[in-house]
């Protein structure tokens, strides 16, 4: 016993010295045989528990599984290891939980019998509690993330693999289980956003932007193609070599947020661009919002700060009072307020009638009224449209045309007064009629079979129909336009509207016009026939000188067609030398309206120029305005040729006549000399008379020659300075030799030279003086004067002879004109002297005229420019 006791004590000492908490239990009662301080500390008990059964010593373990486990080991000998097992132990009078790792090992005697159980334990309470706390925290985080719809992801940048939680898989619509690669992730992203994501990831893992990753993109579900907006944020972590070894973060579904933001923007866009006025104001009338239409209508600039404006700015004083004092109070929660208000444009001050709807705006939380919203529709167009419609209705009512309105079956709804009168129907009959009643049978068939189908497809028809007079049965031809009227919303046809014009007056007028047109055409044909029959070119011109008609005669000789000649085309054939004077004369006539007459040359088909005598007169209206020019061109080429031949003949004849006259005169003078030398004065006198007659004959021949030269433009001039009065003196001396009856009184006051053709001017003075003598047979003197008048020298010859009647005075300078005297006096001559004188003076740029009183005498004068240098060569 003693050895056994000592062994027991030894064992107890061993347990107590054990470095870890330990205890030994024996017997079926699981009596605590030994326990060191560590174990007692676990139990929160003292040495008194030793020797007591466990259930008694640590009663709180009753019901826990430890005692049973020890008993099991005691019976079976199979060791038991506990891991982080929870034990409820009373510490400081309070049951507390502790966690232990422990072992129960069977204690055997040398014979192998089980004598007890050895218990060693390690308190892991703190470790377990810490782990539990971590787990709880993680659980809470997971719960929070799940609640917030946030998924987590973890990318291994080295291996390009990604760890996703379930939420992330859901967000990316990714159905594959297990680890995924970075490319798998990219495949889930919307193609448009993929570059953005790639770029953001690349920036993060290359440590740009401190490794921060924040991007919003769309994913497309691989399961159902659903589009999800994802906001992904993360952080890259780098090792000492600055290489990213981890890149993790969260992903959040923002589809709703994006959607609601978009909806808000869409709504605001809708409001902003609404064509109706929309505004919000507080109940005091301070504006908070106005859309674009409201700003336009009320004259508020789009960038104007509306907080500076109030509702008062947009009403007249009386309307503001009505709105603020009455209408606002009538706005109800349920229906708001609707009615017409006159708003005012603050710039133009125009009052604009508007259909306005007010609603009250309440605070969502408190229900308190915080303002009013208004929508307003500008009624001006509607009012105008209504007014126009009213006017239209009035016009239709009083229209003289037939206007009707039927339903789609043709039942009459309306016919205007003129229409009823046209078809002989009263209003009562109208109500029960349909359109087939008052159209002819033929027209009714056309309406049913052709017109109605066309109306339904194209909406309108127009053409000729016939109405049937309800009383007389007369068929009335009309031109009708039919339109289909459709319901505004469904666009279903609801009626036909028609307007018709009675064609009878037109048909009647048309017949008259047709008759008159026929007559006119006949008249025009006759006139054209006449115009083409006359042997001259006939033309008409606009008041501006543009030819608008030429008869067929034109093309007989002209090188260009009638069409090409119209307008001013004919002028292309005009001889270049005739252009200037022709256009001058034509323009002058267009200005004055005086008759036009000219001779010019036009090119013919052979390229030769032909002379034409052109005459035109203007047709004028009552105010004297020119309406049209009527002209004719007569081909005078042959006439001109004959004139030329005549002039040539006269020229040659005159010249040839002078040759025998010269010899006759010479013979006569020889004869006279011979008679005188022989003393036969009687015969000498006869021969002298013969010589005078030879002189007369010579003068006549001379005149004819001069006229020929004038007409052929061959009158030659040789200008040089000469003493004018000296020339006159010489002429007087010469003339006085031939006339012994008349005394020539001279008053020559012009002293000096002039420039001109001395011979020609001398010829004129001779002519005036010899005429003065010739036409004053009963007078005995003549007065000749010269003087300077401005830049001209003026010469006058006054006689006291037979004079010239006023009506003849203009003609004395014409070719072959002769003043006739009384029965007692006849005056020989060809009537060419004054004509030649006048032509010479004209050529010298001078002027010649006569003052005369019949029976009293005449004064012939001419004036010539002293310097003679302004000669108009065109004359």
């Amino acid at each position: 016993m003693s050895s056994s006791h000592s062994a027991h004590e030894l064992f107890k000492s061993l347990v107590e010295a054990f470095p870890i908490p330990a205890a030994v239990y024996t017997g079926a009662e699981i009596t605590i045989t030994a326990a060191n301080k560590g174990m007692l500390g676990f139990w929160a008990k003292d040495q008194s528990v030793i020797g007591k059964p466990m259930a008694e010593a640590i009663p709180e373990l009753e019901g826990q599984h430890f005692i049973d486990l020890i008993r099991q080991v005691y019976i079976t000998g199979v060791s038991y290891q506990g891991h982080e097992d929870k034990a409820e132990i009373i510490v400081n009078g309070e049951l507390q939980s502790f966690y232990f790792n422990f072992t129960y090992n069977a204690l055997r005697n040398p014979e192998g019998y089980i004598t007890g159980v050895v218990h060693t334990a390690e308190d892991v309470t703190e470790l377990v509690r810490a782990r539990k706390k971590v787990a709880e925290t993680r659980e809470h985080l997971s719960f929070a993330l799940t609640s917030a719809g946030i998924g987590t992801w973890d990318l291994d940048p080295v291996h390009n693999t990604v760890k996703w939680d379930a939420r992330c898989r859901e967000l990316f619509g990714f159905c594959k289980e297990g680890d995924v690669t970075y490319n798998d992730v990219l495949n889930c992203i919307h193609p448009h956003d993929e570059p953005l994501v790639r770029q953001a990831v690349a920036r993060a893992i290359t440590n740009q932007n401190d490794g921060i990753y924040d991007v919003k993109y769309r994913t497309i579900s691989q399961l159902d193609q659903r589009l999800t907006w994802v906001h992904s944020r993360g952080q890259a972590y780098f090792n000492e070599e600055r290489v990213a070894y981890r890149f993790a973060g969260i992903a959040q579904d923002i589809t709703g947020e994006i959607g609601s933001g978009m909806r808000e923007r869409q709504l605001m866009c809708l409001v902003d661009h609404n064509t109706d006025h929309m505004s919000i104001a507080d109940m005091e009338g301070n504006l908070m919002y106005m859309n674009g239409a409201a700003r336009n209508m009320l004259g508020v600039a789009h960038d104007a700060d509306i907080s500076l404006l109030s509702a008062r700015d947009f009403y007249s004083a009386s309307e503001y009072e009505r709105v603020q004092e009455h209408l606002i109070k009538e706005i109800t929660d349920e229906n708001g307020w609707q009615g017409v208000i006159r708003l005012m444009n603050r710039i133009t001050r125009e009052e604009i009638p508007c259909q306005v709807s007010y609603i009250l705006i309440k605070d969502i939380q408190t229900g308190e009224v915080i303002g009013r919203g208004a929508t307003a529709r500008d009624l001006r167009q509607e009012i105008k449209a209504k007014s126009d419609l009213q006017r239209l209705a009035t016009i239709v009512d009083i229209s003289e045309d037939f206007c009707n309105y039927c339903d789609t079956s043709g039942n009459t709804i309306y016919i205007n007064e003129a229409g009823l009168k046209l078809i002989g129907m009263d209003k009562e009959q109208m109500v029960s009629s349909n359109m087939f009643t008052y159209h002819s049978e033929q027209s009714s068939i056309a309406i049913r079979e052709t017109i109605m189908p066309q109306l339904l497809s194209t909406g309108r028809w127009s053409g000729k129909l016939e109405l049937l007079h309800q009383q007389t049965g007369e068929i009335i031809p009309i031109h009708k336009q039919l339109f289909i009227i459709r319901e505004n919303i469904t666009n279903e046809p609801i009626a036909f509207a028609g307007i018709a014009r009675d064609l009878r007056p037109e048909i009647k007028a048309g017949k008259v016009i047709e008759f008159k047109n026929t007559q006119l055409h006949i008249a025009i044909r006759e006139l054209e026939f006449l115009a083409n029959s006359v042997p001259v070119v006939v033309w008409t011109s606009t008041p501006q000188g543009q030819l608008d008609y030429l008869n067929q005669r034109w093309y007989e000789k002209a090188p260009i067609s009638i069409n090409d000649a119209l307008g001013s085309g004919w002028a292309e054939t005009l001889h270049p030398d005739d252009e200037k004077r022709s256009w001058q004369a034509w323009r002058e006539c267009m200005k004055t309206g005086n008759p036009f007459q000219i001779e010019f040359r036009l090119r013919d088909k052979e390229g030769n120029y032909r002379w034409w005598m052109v005459r035109a007169v203007a047709l004028k209206d009552e105010q004297g305005n020119i309406i049209k020019w009527y002209g004719s061109n007569i081909d005078i080429t042959d006439h001109k040729e004959l004139e030329k031949q005549k002039d040539n003949f006269l020229g040659v004849a005159s010249h040839e006549l002078k040759t025998p006259v010269t010899s006759i005169k010479a013979y006569a003078q020889v004869l006279e000399l011979k008679f005188r030398r022989a003393g036969d004065l009687q015969n000498a006198s006869l021969v002298a008379k013969m010589d005078n007659q030879i002189n007369r004959l010579n003068n006549l021949i001379g005149d004819l020659l001069e006229v020929t030269k004038i007409n052929t433009g061959r009158l030659e001039f040789n200008d040089q300075p000469f003493d004018f009065d000296q020339m006159v003196e010489e002429v007087i001396e010469e003339v006085e030799r031939t006339s012994h009856k008349h005394v020539i009184h001279k008053e020559l006051l012009y002293k000096g030279e002039i420039i001109g053709d001395r011979e020609r001017i001398c010829q004129v003075v001779v002519n005036l003086l010899t005429n003065a003598i010739k036409y004053s047979p009963d007078a005995d003197h003549i007065i000749i004067t010269t003087e300077q008048v401005n830049d001209n020298v003026q010469l006058c010859v006054q006689d006291f002879g037979i004079g010239i009647r006023l009506e003849e005075q203009d003609k004395v300078f014409e070719q072959f004109y002769r003043v006739s005297g009384s029965k007692e006096h006849t005056f020989p001559g060809l009537g060419l002297g004054l004509y030649i004188s006048a032509e010479i003076v004209k050529h010298l740029n001078g002027r010649i005229w006569v003052n005369s009183v019949a029976g009293k005498g005449s004064t012939f004068c001419f004036s010539l420019p002293i310097r003679g240098n302004d000669r108009d060569e065109s004359k």
């Binding site: 010249h655 005169k665 010479a666 013979y667 003078q669 020889v670 040789n718 011979e759």
Partner: protein
């Protein structure tokens, strides 16, 4: 002292004019020579006339050309030339060709004699 008779050379293609004028001049004492052919005027001048009475139109010969030749020749250039023509207008061109004076046909005997006398003496 006997005065030498003056010789006048008439060149005109009209025989009647030459005849009548010759009579007229011979009656007052001139020695008259003549030609009816314009081409023979120059040869006629070998008689050294004191004056040439030269018609301008002579059957295709222009008297002004003849006058220019007479005046251009040193042997005949000092012989006075009195040109006659039915055309007054020719006066200036006649004088321009070198003629000493001009007389229009038909002419007065007095005027002719006056002009001749003025040119010869």
């Amino acid at each position: 002292m006997e005065t030498k008779t003056k010789t006048i050379f008439i060149a005109d293609d009209d025989e009647a004019i030459v005849d009548a004028t010759s009579m007229m001049l011979e009656m007052v004492g001139y020695d008259v020579r003549h030609t009816l052919n314009g081409a023979e005027v120059e040869s006629g001048l070998t008689v050294r006339p004191d004056l040439v009475l030269l018609d301008i139109w002579m059957s295709g010969i222009d008297g002004r050309d003849v006058c220019r030749k007479i005046k251009a020749d040193p042997l005949t250039g000092n012989i006075p030339v009195l040109m006659i023509s039915a055309s007054r207008e020719i006066r200036d061109s006649a004088l321009a060709s070198g003629a000493d004076d001009f007389l229009a046909k038909p002419f007065d005997m007095d005027t002719l004699l006056e002009k001749i006398a003025r040119l010869i003496y």
